[in-house]
Symmetry: C2
Subunit: 106 residues, 2 copies
């Protein structure tokens, strides 16, 4: 959060999940913790660079946890933080709306 003042509160939400891939990433993480390579497979269009970048920002904003297993080869798991969990409702409703739209219920 660079700014402490917003015109309307929803800007605070957008600052956190407004990134191009963030909602997508979070929708995957809301079901289970995932490794970097799992996320890459789950979101084929994203490049490593973008995935890294978006994960770093989410981590910086306190939405996800990055857990590094101290082993070789490296293993890193990402999961929702407590704050991230508080987004679950937002994510669920966004997902549900997408489903309705695809199935022409709206």
């Amino acid at each position: 959060m660079q700014e402490n003042h917003y015109n309307i509160p929803v800007e605070a939400t957008l600052e956190v999940i407004g990134g191009k891939w963030k909602v997508l990433i979070l929708c995957h993480l809301k079901n289970k913790k995932m490794r970097f390579s799992e996320l890459q497979r789950a979101i084929p269009q994203i490049t490593k660079k973008m995935l890294t970048q978006q994960l770093r920002e989410l981590e910086y904003d306190g939405i996800i946890i990055r857990y590094v297993y101290q082993q070789v080869p490296p293993k890193v798991e990402y999961s929702l933080s407590h704050t991230g969990e508080s987004l679950r409702e937002v994510l669920n409703i966004m997902c549900a709306w997408g489903e309705k739209r695809i199935t022409n219920q709206i």
Copy 2:
């Protein structure tokens, strides 16, 4: 909607409201119909070009209605369509989360 296939349904949601300013615009329109210049004042950072562009896309996706009063000087009002109304819950929850975040409740 250019693509009919998504990896996961939330992509359909993002395709509609993923634009940089769309959620912000819709959050304003969910309370009342607004004129172009009202929206500009409500979102000071946005340029006319971007506002026009985002409104066009929302209209094209069937989320908002653009109503032109046939008069001089021109008057144009934007409002949520029926489909747009179905997004109200999504918008409300996003707004609510932003408020909670700003007031440090999460």
